[in-house]
Symmetry: C2
Subunit: 174 residues, 2 copies
Amino acid sequence: MVELRADARRNLERVLDAATEVFAEEGPDASVAEIAHRAGVGQGTVFRRFPSKDDLVFAVVERHVAQMRALAEQALAADDPGDAFFDFIRGVGELAMSMPGLHACVVHCGEKPGAAELEELGRKVVARAQRAGAVRRDVKPADVQGLVRSALTGAPAGEWRRYLEVVLDGLRAR
Amino acid sequence: MVELRADARRNLERVLDAATEVFAEEGPDASVAEIAHRAGVGQGTVFRRFPSKDDLVFAVVERHVAQMRALAEQALAADDPGDAFFDFIRGVGELAMSMPGLHACVVHCGEKPGAAELEELGRKVVARAQRAGAVRRDVKPADVQGLVRSALTGAPAGEWRRYLEVVLDGLRAR
DNA sequence: CGCTAACCGGACTACCGAGTCCGCTTACGC
DNA sequence: GCGTAAGCGGACTCGGTAGTCCGGTTAGCG
């Protein structure tokens, strides 16, 4: 499987796009049949590339997480560590909540995909903000991640920005 | 169905107890078969009393929510509105997280069961604390509820108390 | 007692979604 | 062109769950 035939590659992309769409709308419980149909291919085609449904979810989430990594890198390069942190979190919120279903997928896969690097970067962003005295020192980077994810996941439709601000206020050094 | 035969009443209680146990362990996705088995009755017996599985979930959640109402009433009777509020929230946390699966059930049923009265009481507790200057004024009672629920739902196993404290700090008037 | 309506259990149906299989189609190297 | 292996689709299997049904059991009244 080093080289994919042209039609196979085309279908693979269709599947990934359709899966992103469908998962974004319905979350990780969307059925593979729906995705295959939306992609205009048979179920067999989906399962040939992604041996299990979870593999498909991972692939979709992977793309999504990559964008967050970019934000984290940007935050590390910024001048003010405190502002960088708070803007980073807000950016992650915008990204995640632009496709709520996908966010549920991220939660669904736990830590699996490119989360390791993202977490590593996130750790640095947090540590830097703590060193600069902008973030309270008694929270661990994992706590920040968890709290933010909770606020985003739990907020009703249009309210997540307000929720996030409350959490961010709770994270500020006092 | 005004009067229930003695054996029927006994079975009804067994079912409710078993359901509470099982939902507390496995969340709202636990199967009715498991509950019936744990209660030592047939599935038919369960469905005779609760026409759908959701009805059963509601009944179980109802009981759980009643305990929270008690806490809210207690909070309203307390002297210091600020302390009352923060202790109330912590109490709700203890109650909810002593049975995490049940908490997921509460989330699962949305607002259905005795939530209306609980919400009404909660509203008063929050308003009182805001009037006393202990809680920031730009949050609505529903936000408090949502934020707390999010923090509890999203926290990993042993960490919910720490999460809750961050959120509570975010809610304090500054 | 003994009769009967209420009640019981658990087999059964209906349905849904993940993952498999195989006969047919098509890209593409020669 | 043409032969063939890569690829395709979608019907099918399999497992699991909500909800139904009915022949058998029993509470409890007279």
